[in-house]
């Protein structure tokens, strides 16, 4: 009973101590020179408390969408990179367990995925998302 709850207990402990530490640490260590800009949560960013319908530059939106292209790419390629050389629970194990019929299909799948993302990248590129007009 206790064994199975231990990770949760540790999680709760870390989740409690981490923010307390992050709040206390700067309070003890950091120099205090309060100005109006310093008091903002993000010194160089937007004012976080404002009307939700405030306008902001649409170019940020396009960049955010384009960021997703690379974000999703990482999401899929990182597990692939980890699994391909991992003997105990990787691609070879899946082949041995007859879950996939060979390493080739994994490679082709990843390549198709990269190809689709590349197409999305070319699309945004040609649409001029990277030109800061």
């Amino acid at each position: 009973m206790f064994d199975s709850a231990l990770p949760i207990l540790l999680f709760v402990l870390v989740a409690t101590l981490l923010p307390i530490g992050m709040l206390l640490g700067p309070r003890i260590l950091a120099p205090r020179r309060q100005t109006a800009v310093k008091a903002m949560p993000y010194e160089s960013g937007m004012d976080p408390i404002h009307d939700t319908r405030r306008r902001f530059d649409v170019r940020f939106h396009l960049l955010a969408i384009d960021f997703l292209v690379f974000d999703v790419e990482l999401l899929f390629l990182y597990p692939w990179a980890v699994a391909r050389g991992n003997a105990s629970s990787g691609v070879d194990r899946a082949v041995a367990a007859n879950l996939i019929d060979g390493r080739g299909i994994v490679f082709v799948g990843a390549m198709v995925f990269i190809g689709l993302l590349l197409a999305g990248f070319i699309y945004t590129w040609r649409k001029g998302v990277f030109e800061w007009r």
Binding site: D101, I105, L116
Partner: protein, 530 residues
């Protein structure tokens, strides 16, 4: 498929070649559109892509069963053909709006939505099914929004977006429970686990299979616009174009019914006792609400929206009958109701797509037909278009000898064929007789507003000069639908009903359990019966 084949095998993946061609076409259109500035070429590319996909589908073998996550069975094959043929109609109908706006984006999104519909048809696995449903939804948001700047279309796109997300979330929640109960996302495995009706297993599950069923039903009821989850449809259709409304009225409905048949009816026989009640209740409410509200509509897209809601109710009759028949008694044929639903999908899709195509043709790019009154006197000024629209209306109303008649006939017959099993649930047969009667009454009520459109066209003096500037492509789309409706009505109806029923019968994931075993779990939740 080869039982020793790996779960994800090259042979299984190659079954998806038609879908790959369509997706490849979409990618080509999206990327190519940024290099070449042509407005009209992309519809031709899309048409060529669909033709190539059709060719690939034609040469494909139908081994039956599953190739890993892909259901390579007759049901999937039938539905893929339906979606592909409808895709041709959509590409034709949207050719003109695409050329007027952002052609590559419109055409590419349309191709992706068609590919999504085809993948839903062959999904034998919950994750694949969900991804496929989203592959339909996400390009549809783009289609609703792109190229139009008025506030009505923005409202329409936003409403559809939020409702669609909500429905996806609810569906996914249901899938989670299904996975939690069975420990698998594969439909064959889910069906196998849920057929284990031992006391311990059933007590262990509690109400979870039923809960999963209800959530999946609610989520997909949004997709097929069944009452009480229908309220977004009239607003969205009214705010958009006839061409977009055609896509919205047809593609999500095909996908939703396909998903419902695959996940609930074929894979969850244990929950059938709850299932037929939900489907029957939804069918009655949806038919009645749709038809009664349609009576008051003056806007023609709102009218067709409520008509499409009512037809979702008819489609659910077959589902309810299929569910009830899985409970026995011996000799019951679940495929009768389910096949009738699939056949009705074909009939409904071509009739509705044709009606929207005819209305799109009668308008002009600047001003589309909005009210029924604008159709006045069309019988004299535009006799061919008026005749085509009348045929579609008669087909939707279910007047013989058109396609809609065979559809309604097969649905009502399947409801009347449901038999009670001995013991619990003896009232089932009565319920289905009531359902068939309500369905028939609804068909009579529905005829009122369909005939009102026809009467407006033929018996009222022309209101103003009809425009009929929709273009040749959408006229061809309407013509194809007309051919389909007449062909099914006059020649192919009974044959196609038989074919869809055979297809469904060949596609159950596991053989249905013995009726004696089923009789016990009929009616009440199993844990109470034992």
């Amino acid at each position: 498929m080869d039982p020793n084949a790996a779960y994800t095998s090259a042979a299984g993946v190659l079954q998806l070649i038609p879908e790959m061609i369509v997706v490849g076409g979409a990618v080509f259109v999206f990327v190519g559109g940024t290099f070449a500035k042509s407005k009209t070429a992309w519809s031709w590319v899309a048409a060529a892509g669909l033709a190539a996909a059709g060719l690939a589908l034609w040469t494909q073998k139908v081994p039956g069963g599953f190739a890993g996550p892909i259901a390579v069975d007759a049901l999937g094959y039938t539905l893929r053909w339906l979606v592909l043929l409808l895709g041709g109609v959509f590409v034709l109908a949207l050719a003109r709006p695409a050329a007027a706006g952002q052609a590559p984006e419109v055409t590419g999104s349309l191709l992706l939505a068609i590919a999504g519909g085809m993948i839903v048809s062959v999904s034998g696995e919950l994750v694949l099914l969900f991804v496929a449903l989203e592959t339909i939804s996400i390009p549809t948001y783009v289609l609703l929004y792109v190229g139009r700047k008025d506030s009505a279309s923005q409202e329409s796109a936003a409403k559809y977006f939020f409702l669609s997300i909500l429905s996806s979330a609810v569906t996914l929640y249901g899938f989670c429970f299904l996975y939690g109960v069975t420990g698998s996302t594969h439909l064959a495995e889910i069906a196998r686990v849920l057929q284990n009706t031992s006391v311990a297993a059933v007590a262990d599950w509690g109400p979870l299979p039923d809960l999963a069923l209800v959530l999946i039903f609610v989520g997909l009821a949004f997709k097929i616009a069944a009452a009480p989850f229908h309220f977004y449809a009239p607003d969205v259709y009214q705010g958009t174009t006839h061409e977009n409304a055609m896509l919205l009225a047809v593609l999500p409905k095909v996908a939703g019914i396909a998903a419902l048949i695959r996940v609930t009816t074929l894979a969850m026989p244990l929950a059938a006792g709850t299932g037929w009640r939900i489907a029957l209740f939804l069918a009655v409410v949806t038919m009645t609400v749709g038809n009664m509200t349609a009576l008051w509509q003056k806007n023609v897209r709102r009218l067709l929206a409520y008509s499409s809601i009512a037809h979702a109710g008819y489609l659910l009759i077959g589902l309810a009958a299929g569910f009830a028949a899985t409970l026995g008694p011996q000799g019951s044929r679940p495929e009768e109701g389910l096949g009738a639903s699939v056949f009705y999908l074909v009939v409904y899709a071509f009739s509705t797509a044709g009606a929207f195509a005819a209305l799109a043709y009668l308008g002009s790019p600047e001003r589309q037909v909005d009210t029924v009154a604008e159709l006045a006197g069309l019988g004299r000024t535009r006799p061919v278009s008026a005749a085509a629209l009348a045929v579609f209306m008669f087909s939707l109303a279910g007047v013989p000898p058109l396609a809609g008649f065979w559809g309604k006939l097969s649905l009502f017959l399947s409801a009347l064929d449901v038999r009670s099993s001995p013991g619990l649930g003896a009232s089932r047969q009565t319920w289905f007789i009531v359902l068939a009667v309500i369905g028939a009454l609804n068909a009579a009520v529905a005829a009122t507003y369909y005939l009102r459109v026809v009467a407006t066209m033929y018996f009222l003096p022309p209101a103003k000069e009809p425009r009929a500037e929709g273009g040749g492509a959408v006229r061809t789309a309407g013509g194809l639908c007309l051919v389909a409706v007449l062909l099914i009505g006059l020649l192919l109806g009974p044959m196609l009903i038989q074919a869809t029923q055979d297809a469904v019968q060949a596609s159950a994931p596991v053989p249905p359990p013995k009726p004696a075993q089923q009789a016990q779990i009929d009616g009440a939740p199993p844990s109470i019966v034992r």
